[in-house]
């Protein structure tokens, strides 16, 4: 029995990942016939969609900043969400005279954003619209990255700034620049201190897991909706597990 428990503890992480995968596949298959998932309203995404339409009509640009996360560690997760948002923006603005511009503070993220833009335009049969200089690396240090992204916000007729990725407190420089240029700022990050800064400085903050729900809210595909349902279910499972653990510890059953 002890050996079984020890093996389970050792492979708990793998079991959890397999559970996540199982739930995603289950919801992906079970939602096959459903037209669209009912999602709770998140104001940031409602405003974002409206602003994208307005930007296309007004001939203005969208600026998507993907932060300076390194994909070799955990910070890369939020940058991948930024790439999903970039894809949706490029599709929505495909009729616009001004294609979206992307800034980032990491070489790999820059190349991936170029690749995402190229892939999106290719799928829309509009490869001639792809310009590699629309996906830029602006700096490698936090402040260098922010300073390099500022001219894009001020000089390129930006109507909406979307910050999705790993940022530090330097994001306040970017959101302030967006405010000064009277453009909407939507921001989300995986970093907790940055989320506090975003809450204080941004028009539409995305807190906690809201950033990771972007794909489902922007219609990136059924798998995004399925993974969102998986996150909702497992969040409750974890909350219940934490509460039970706290009660057991309070009663002295758990050491």
């Amino acid at each position: 029995m002890d050996q079984v428990l020890s093996s389970i503890t050792n492979y708990l992480g793998l079991l959890f990942i397999l559970l996540c995968l199982g739930l995603i596949l289950f919801y992906l298959l079970s939602d096959r016939g459903r037209a669209r998932l009912n999602l709770r309203g998140i104001q940031a995404f409602t405003h974002f969609r409206r602003e994208v339409d307005l930007a296309v009509e007004a001939g203005k640009r969208l600026h998507i900043s993907l932060g300076r996360g390194n994909i070799n560690d955990l910070q890369g997760g939020s940058a991948f969400i930024g790439l999903t948002i970039l894809d949706r923006c490029a599709r929505a603005a495909s009729n616009s005279d001004r294609p979206p511009v992307t800034t980032s503070g990491d070489g790999v993220i820059t190349i991936l954003s170029q690749d995402t833009l190229r892939g999106t335009y290719r799928s829309l049969a509009a490869e001639e619209r792809y310009d590699p200089t629309n996906a830029r690396m602006t700096g490698l240090t936090p402040m260098g990255y922010a300073a390099g992204a500022l001219p894009a916000i001020h000089d390129e007729q930006i109507s909406t700034n979307i910050y999705a990725g790993h940022f530090g407190t330097e994001i306040a420089l970017l959101t302030e620049a967006g405010e000064r240029s009277r453009s909407l700022t939507v921001a989300g990050s995986d970093s907790i201190p940055t989320q506090a800064v975003i809450y204080a400085t941004c028009d539409e903050p995305l807190l906690g897991e809201e950033l990771f729900a972007a794909g489902a809210y922007l219609g990136a595909g059924r798998v995004h909706s399925a993974s969102l349902r998986m996150q909702d279910i497992l969040r409750w499972v974890l909350v219940v597990a934490i509460v039970i653990g706290a009660i057991l510890k309070l009663l002295g059953i758990l050491s």
Binding site: I111, L140, E209, E210, A213, V223
Partner: protein, 207 residues
Amino acid sequence: MKKILPIINAIIAVISGLFVLLGYFFPGVFGGIQSTLIGWAIILAAIALLLGIFNLAIVHWKKIGSEGSRHINSIALLVSLFITIIIVSINGPTGSWSLWVFNSFQVPVEVSLLAVLAVILVYAGARLLARRPKWNTILFLVTVLVVLLGSAPLFFIGEITPLSIVRGWLAQVPAIAGARGLLLGVALGTIATGLRILIGVDQPYGG
């Protein structure tokens, strides 16, 4: 070829991702291949960095050609980049001239921006109530004020003990509970993002 390449990319990404993931749980079996793949990823990231700098130079080179009044910034960037590359190439990354460039230009500029950042955060905090007049905004600002006043002794008054106690409780109980709740959401979101890439549905690598 245009149709086959994305499939090959997806297969490589999925298999590599699987090996790296399995390497964490079965280090004896997959540990070797995991470290090899991570080593390759680090080398590729360094090459991507060079390409990113090249991209930065091209963007500013184009700006010089197209813009009229603001191209001075782009010229400054390209000249600085060129001079820095030459100095570091000759002197090495830890040479005295390279460190002089870093300490005399990079550090002061970054510290200045950090000072600007402090002012911006105070200004944004003051403006928050006008931007979002809700009860949670008031709670946010009151908490900020209590933590600030409870963190450091004040002029002439010294440390206010009740505020220090409240600050300690705020930092230890609600702040940690809230941060853990947010981290839980972030962790689940990160797992979901990773799994979508691992099963080849999300293909951010030009698939």
